[in-house]
């Protein structure tokens, strides 16, 4: 098909769904018994109490298509229905209409952060968020995706950053870090071990991060680099649910990594960016990478395990941690952040449900880029708030800029005075100073 030959339409959306429906989807739809347990797993239902936010209900249009076109039984039913319609001389009712998709748009975007918690709970084993990801493909193709995400996707493709951030902004920050630390921030260094990516949100909201990794990598003697052609780790294409947009964006990362011939690519403190590059990227471009992908926390924990990070002193206040869904439940990084916490915190307490059963902050999956979802985003946060209130920490630690922003904004909204910090920064704060280290070496 020629590009752009078609405008968005229901038919184009259905076609996208036909591409997406696979054996797991068929098994999932065949199995749902309408028990409603997934609702109890979803922060958007739990905090609103509105049954329409039941996770599996968000997939009803796609289920209809599957039943009618991907089961013999459904095809049979359709044939009979068509016959009856023909007999009665009335036009057959379309299965899925534009109005229906419009009604479902807020369900599939505004009320789902793709946190995957429902997928852990469904008793018949439905991986609901796997299907929501797929359902969004059809929503984009049918022209039913939220404006905020459309705008972010366009900006990401056209400017390289979903927030329209330019290299020159980052360059200013790099200069700043270099003067503050007296260290060099390597740029476009061929053959470096690690290509470091950042997220626009981080660059704008949490400049501490870049400084922290500069210090840590220097401390541990890691060879790394930034890329001028591609610094953005996030992928708006994954959030809006378009493989095509996602492929364009991820290709930039792959090109940069291949050009610099790095062995590894590091996703920043951003859960979404990590799943996008780590799990979805290769499938979007339909080939395996010649490099490995890590989240910064994985890298730090490996350095710790290898004895390449030396710390001194510990945080004395009561700290708790928010596991980003994308990192913990959706990527299997659960122990690493806890080992790192042990290194630097003396009074760490986990939230009651954490790790693979953590509760989403409410902002993921594109919810935070979708202005219309603002009230729901805040509602969903109440679950996190309740969890935090249970353990009463003095500060929260996390490792995702989106989560961190949401936690900060949410806690402020509810007048809770609990600062939120990034784990990488805490580690950086406790590094043994170089001179001190040298002195110790001399003494012994």
């Amino acid at each position: 098909m020629t590009q752009g030959a078609h405008s968005f339409s229901v038919e184009r959306g259905l076609n996208a769904w036909r591409e997406e429906i696979d054996a797991p989807v068929a098994a999932f739809f065949s199995s749902c018994v309408h028990c409603g347990l997934c609702a109890q797993a979803c922060p958007f239902f739990v905090e609103t109490g509105d049954p329409k936010y039941t996770p599996i209900h968000k997939l009803e249009p796609m289920r209809l298509l599957w039943e009618q076109e991907f089961t013999l039984w459904g095809k049979l039913k359709k044939t009979v229905k068509d016959r009856v319609d023909a007999q009665l001389g009335r036009a057959p009712k379309p299965l899925i209409t534009d109005e229906m998709l419009e009604e479902w748009e807020p369900l599939l975007y505004d009320s789902c952060s793709m946190c995957g918690r429902c997928s852990m709970v469904c008793p018949v084993g439905n991986d609901i968020h796997y299907m929501i990801r797929k359902a969004r493909e059809g929503m984009v193709a049918s022209g039913h995706s939220p404006e905020g995400l459309v705008a972010a996707s366009v900006r990401a493709v056209n400017t390289g950053s979903p927030m329209g951030l330019q290299w020159k902004t980052l360059d200013v920050q790099i200069k700043h870090v270099e003067t503050a630390t007296g260290l060099e921030v390597p740029i476009d260094k061929q053959g470096a071990e690690y290509l470091v990516l950042l997220s626009s949100m981080e660059i704008i909201n949490f400049p501490e991060y870049l400084e922290a990794i500069t210090k840590i990598f220097d401390h541990a003697g890691v060879s790394w680099t930034l890329s001028k052609t591609c610094f953005e780790a996030t992928n708006a294409g994954i959030q809006i649910g378009s493989k095509d947009i996602a492929a364009t964006l991820v290709q930039r990362v792959v090109d940069a990594a291949e050009q610099l011939q790095v062995k590894n690519v590091i996703s920043p403190e951003c859960g979404h960016a990590y799943t996008a590059i780590r799990w979805e990227g290769p499938n979007a471009i339909k080939r395996a990478y010649p490099f490995k992908v890590y989240h910064i926390i994985e890298v730090l924990d490996q350095l710790r395990a290898d004895g390449r990070i030396k710390t001194e002193g510990k945080e004395m206040d009561r700290l708790s941690m928010h596991d980003p869904c994308n990192l913990a439940r959706k990527s299997g990084v659960v122990q690493q952040q806890r080992s790192l916490m042990d290194l630097v915190a003396s009074n760490f307490v986990d939230l009651k449900e954490h790790g693979e059963f953590q509760w989403c902050c409410g902002a993921g999956g594109g919810v935070s880029s979708n202005e219309r979802a603002e009230p729901l985003k805040l509602a969903a946060f109440k679950r996190k708030k309740a969890q935090i209130e249970e353990v009463e920490p003095e500060r929260m630690v996390t490792m995702c800029a989106t989560c961190r922003t949401q936690l900060e904004e949410g806690l402020e909204e509810f007048n809770m005075d609990i600062p939120v910090v990034g784990l990488t920064e805490i580690i950086a704060d406790h590094l043994v100073e170089k001179e001190v280290e040298n002195k110790k070496a001399e003494e012994s």
Binding site: S31, H34, P51, L72, W73, C122, V124, D127, R278, G332
Partner: protein, 219 residues
């Protein structure tokens, strides 16, 4: 038609018909799923697929503590009547005789009073589940006529079995005929409704476990 004619009809041709539709239907459903396949996954795996997949097939019988707390009724009553149903179906001596004659395999059964007690619990559980579905906001919202149909289709074999065992319908050939007849309805309806979950839930669980397992999480 006399009660005996009815019993012979249900024990003979109708049973063969029901079991044929059941086998045909459920295998179509299963192969239809498998034939769709999965796209090749290019992302480097963190973990294995098969073992977590198999584990999840079992693990979803035991929900996580949070779910247990939030949905205690569903978990407790749901487990209770499912287990009861399976016990009545697979551990009652007359059923074992039937399975032995059909499939050639058999195993020791449970004493009738035990099965009977389990049946009574199953019946109560099923009634409770129906009431819950009618009153719980999410369940009510999700429920379609099919959900009530499959409830009835599941409830009736257990009820008629109980009535036959206690000889509460007379004459007995009518009681047994009704029992077998409701079982046949169950078998015929199964492949065309969400009763398929009896089989496909294990497929779904496997895929769930495999998808998460590949990323290093036991789901």
């Amino acid at each position: 038609m006399t009660p005996m004619d009815f019993l012979l009809l249900t024990k003979g041709p109708l049973f063969s018909l029901a079991i044929a539709i059941f086998a045909l239907g459920i295998l179509i459903r299963l192969f239809e799923i498998f034939a769709l396949g999965r796209a090749h996954n290019y992302a480097a795996a963190r973990g294995n697929e098969v073992i977590p997949g198999l584990k999840t097939m079992y693990r979803r019988f035991n929900p996580d503590p949070g779910t247990f707390k939030r949905s205690t009724f569903d978990v407790v009553v749901g487990t209770l009547w499912h287990v009861g149903f399976v016990i009545a179906l697979l551990m009652f001596i007359p059923h074992i005789e039937l399975i032995k004659s059909t499939l050639g395999v058999s195993w020791p059964g449970l004493p009738n009073p035990v099965v009977d007690a389990v049946t009574a619990i199953t019946l109560l559980g099923l009634v409770a589940v129906l009431i819950h579905r009618l009153t719980h906001p999410v369940k009510r919202f999700l429920s379609t006529p099919q959900d009530y149909l499959i409830w009835a289709v599941t409830f009736l074999p257990v009820l008629t079995g109980y009535l036959a065992y206690h000889r509460l319908i007379n004459p007995y050939p009518l009681a047994l005929g009704l029992h077998i007849f409701t079982v046949e309805i169950f078998l015929i309806v199964l492949p065309f409704t969400k009763l398929t979950h009896i089989f496909t839930a294990f497929v779904a669980r496997y895929y769930n476990g495999a998808i998460f397992g590949r990323k290093g999480i036991q789901s």
